[in-house]
Subunit: 382 residues, 2 copies
């Protein structure tokens, strides 16, 4: 995101320079992916007369906020403008409030993009304005803020984790030439991006066909070292999971969770021993009860889940309206009509159930090219 | 394209500023789309100490070149650096050579991105260097230059027009719920972009199912007024085209061309009268001989063709390796397995023929979001 124009940043009254620097703050915020959750990703820029004098982002959960770090980067911030991707906090959490730091530093103006959620009474912006600073914000729409900080703006009333579905598809909407065989559709650049994305989630979920075919590690092996490694979660209705599976036997990784149906739980738990927690949920529509699984994960403190397929599980989640975001990697490849469809019928077999799925979904983030592949991010409507 | 880093612009020895300004020149060049063909699109920037003092692009075929226009924008260009997206010309065409203008203006340095094709002996860059200017270029790869100026770098030895295929597809690789019904898959922003793309082509080609189902106008109704409006070209093996078709009966537009098989040509010509030229080509594999059609268009002086579907014609062109570029608009929609596939089997019915199609193709241009839809541009390998 560059928020290159006042229209894009939603800021009537903002100059092009304001929008460019707000966009830069948003961009900096993204550097916190995988490190700050459950805090929001926030970036901040200190500028004088439109020139950047310091930049920072919230680097790690529990560490100093972006605004405070950016102020540390300047000897004297008196009279400067601070741009932040999120309204400065006015509450004392793990660190003192940013609003006090901004006031104490003698900043003349604060411009922020997203509003602090749930702060209808007026958050840090209003607090600063009451003390004579020029506080401009929030700008744009909540849905755009949520696209940048999906976890932070995830609706708690859903009582389930934020769920993203990652699929790599061919131009003809297939994920593999045939069932049960490991197949790389995308190139190395896209696969590196998958590791980056994975680093931001509490858990990585795969259906039985995927772990049976691919035996994936589900670990993060990329540039970002996640603050907390994602928990591997396998669905296994038939209780066939094996202690040799790479997702369960990886050294030093977090203990996995395997969901199965009540009749299989005891045998499976005995077989997997210390390698994984086995949880029983009711069977449903040819698989397991996905709502129960997400509730169970929520109760375990797993707030965000990346489902990495396959098509059957992804489509079942979509058809039940349990997906908040789709990471779609489009590979410039044709597989042909005999290939495995990325979006097979939903559970219950109604061919129309999936057709309705994406109504109300929006593409809010810019698509990105990774090598020859294109990442399209689609977000569920509010 | 921003060519934001030296790596991206392929310029060892270039600074970040050089690359940014080269990227700006490329960006400016794009403003000539629909106006300069068969000349290349070229943009130029005059800078002093990394600051832009003038910008220009080649605006219309036969008009002054970008470098000359940019120099006109500066009172005194002595000692300045000129960035151009293409090697300055050293030959006298419709206008005097740019190299002489640059020399006369007293420019100290010229930086250019793409090399003039077919100028192995040294073009404008070498000419300038011999006269004491610092001439830096070309940078990057021919394939990247061709992605920016596809028509200009189109291989003449192919003896057929440059062919681009535009398809709007759903996430499950379908173009419509059923055959024979007009259907809007993409939103208004994507459709506006189609008009912009169309403005750059000499002809717009559609297969019989598309004109029968959609009765498209095939005119350019967007922001760009093309210098020469594209010729509508219809395929009509069965000789069913009607004088009432909007593509043929549009007022003030160029006369269309309808291809049919020899047995239908006379009757069709009589029925269409002055509305279109009717040309006979042999029938082939369930349709018409596409190689003969492209040869025939080439002989009529049509150097660039945009095929706007449908899936059957597009797939036939792809399977015969007659497509140079795919403009794929991806809509966040599912249509379901009963929908019309974007890539049905190739001619001859071999399900594998299409699977091989995109080997060697590359995604060189950045994907762009238009409203909720994403445009992915794929280019055929050399």
């Amino acid at each position: 995101m560059s928020l290159a124009s006042p229209a894009e940043c939603g800021g009537a009254g903002l100059s092009d320079v304001d929008c460019r620097l707000l966009g830069r703050a948003v961009e900096l915020g993204r550097l916190g992916w995988g490190r700050v959750h459950p805090n929001p990703m926030v970036g901040a820029v200190v500028a004088r007369e439109g020139r950047v004098v310091a930049e920072a982002h919230h680097e790690v959960f529990g560490g100093p906020h972006a605004e405070v770090l950016a102020l540390h980067g300047v000897g004297d911030a008196r009279g400067a403008t601070v741009y932040s991707s999120l309204e400065p906090c006015s509450h004392r959490g793990k660190t003192p409030p940013c609003t006090e730091a901004l006031l104490k530093a003698g900043v003349a103006r604060v411009v922020y993009w997203a509003g602090e959620p749930g702060d209808a009474a007026g958050g840090g912006g209003a607090w600063l304005a009451r003390r004579g600073l020029q506080a401009d914000g929030p700008f744009g729409e909540r849905a755009d803020w949520a696209a940048e900080n999906p976890f932070f703006f995830h609706a708690p009333e859903l009582r389930r984790p934020y769920v993203a579905l990652k699929l790599a598809v061919s131009l003809d909407g297939r994920i593999a030439p045939r069932e049960g065989r490991r197949f790389w559709l995308t190139g190395p650049e896209a696969r590196a991006e998958v590791h980056r994305v994975r680093a931001g989630f509490d858990a990585v979920l795969v259906g039985s066909r995927t772990w049976e075919a691919d035996d994936p590690q589900l670990t993060v092996r990329g540039e970002i070292e996640p603050r907390v490694a994602p928990v591997p979660v396998l669905l296994d209705r038939s209780g066939r999971a094996d202690p040799g599976l790479r997702a369960l036997s990886g050294e030093g990784g977090p203990r996995g969770i395997v969901f199965t149906c009540p009749g299989e739980a005891r045998g499976l738990a005995r077989r997997l021993g210390d390698l994984a927690d086995v949880a029983a949920v009711p069977a449903a529509q040819g698989g397991l009860d996905l709502v129960a699984i997400l509730q169970s994960l929520n109760e375990c403190g797993i707030a965000t889940v990346l489902c990495e397929g396959g098509g059957t599980l992804g489509s079942a989640l979509l058809a039940l309206d349990l997906v908040d975001r789709l990471y779609l990697f489009l590979a410039p490849v044709l597989i042909g009509a005999s290939g495995v469809p990325a979006f097979p019928r939903g559970p219950g077999g109604d061919p129309e159930s999936l057709v309705r799925v994406f109504r109300g979904w929006r593409s809010r983030l810019a698509p990105v090219r990774f090598g020859n592949d294109t990442l399209v991010v689609l977000d569920r409507g509010a």
